[in-house]
């Protein structure tokens, strides 16, 4: 598998809310989005299986988002992975690896224009030792308490892509 090739994509409607403090389902011009608050940390979960042709190079998650109303400021996203291999993790409780943060990305000066943030996971512990062919969950969170997260109002995720680093 070549670096940069797509391993999976998620839309807003693929998101599964956790028990509390979850991103809110919404639409914008008929585009499904997930709204993440500016002061309370909220998360969403995506589930998939890593393709068999994944080559072990680590993964990079691209997050496309818009500001609900802001035209300035930046957003910081965090991502964490939970391996769900057979005979492995007890799925009765969460077991996500250490969260990895994207760099702060400034929102576009037009609130309806998309922005792209990137979260990088090196192979191994950062990916909860996930390997090709295994199921996993990806947790995405906005990090409103991070000093780099300065944007007022909600940030709306509309697409997530997983690719090999």
């Amino acid at each position: 598998m070549a670096s940069g090739n797509t391993l999976g994509t998620f839309g807003a409607r693929d998101g599964v809310p956790p028990g509390s403090n979850y991103a809110t389902q919404d639409t914008r011009n008929n585009i499904p989005v997930l709204d993440f608050d500016a002061t309370t940390e909220e998360t969403i979960l995506f589930g998939d299986a890593l393709p068999d042709h994944y080559g072990g190079g680590g993964i990079t998650v691209d997050v496309w988002w818009m500001a609900t109303s802001a035209t300035t400021g930046a957003v910081v996203w965090g991502g964490s992975i939970e391996r769900e291999n057979a005979g492995g993790t007890d799925l009765d409780s969460d077991s996500f690896a250490t969260e990895q943060l994207a760099s702060a990305v400034n929102t576009d000066a037009t609130s309806g224009k998309g922005n792209k943030s990137t979260i990088t996971f090196t192979a191994g512990a950062n990916m909860d030792s996930l390997v090709a062919g295994e199921p996993y969950r990806l947790k995405i969170a906005r990090k409103p308490a991070d000093a780099g997260d300065t944007m007022s109002g909600d940030a709306e995720i509309y697409r997530v892509k997983v690719r090999e680093t």
Partner: protein, 86 residues
């Protein structure tokens, strides 16, 4: 009159951002910290000018309305003046 507590100001700040997102006031050209500075300054201004505002209310309203009722009336006047039709 005491200023709002930091927790109250933070809650107001968060609630206001949610209102901005849900209502059609237009886009928000401020960062979180810039908006919070505006919250703090407005609260400080109200503290500094509360007595003057109270004096401006004619009788019998000044004596008959309680603090919460005067606050609601003040809010309604400001909203009608600056928000209606905005």
């Amino acid at each position: 009159m005491a200023a709002l507590t930091d927790a109250d100001r933070a809650e107001l700040h968060a609630d206001f951002m949610r209102r901005m997102d849900m209502q059609t006031f237009g886009s928000c050209p401020l960062t979180k910290s810039e908006l919070r500075a505006a919250v703090d300054a407005m609260d400080a201004w109200i503290v500094a000018n509360a007595a003057s505002l109270n004096t401006a209310i004619p009788q019998p309203a000044r004596g008959a309305l309680n603090g919460a009722q005067k606050a609601m009336l003040f809010s309604a006047v400001v909203e009608r003046r600056y928000v209606k039709g905005a």
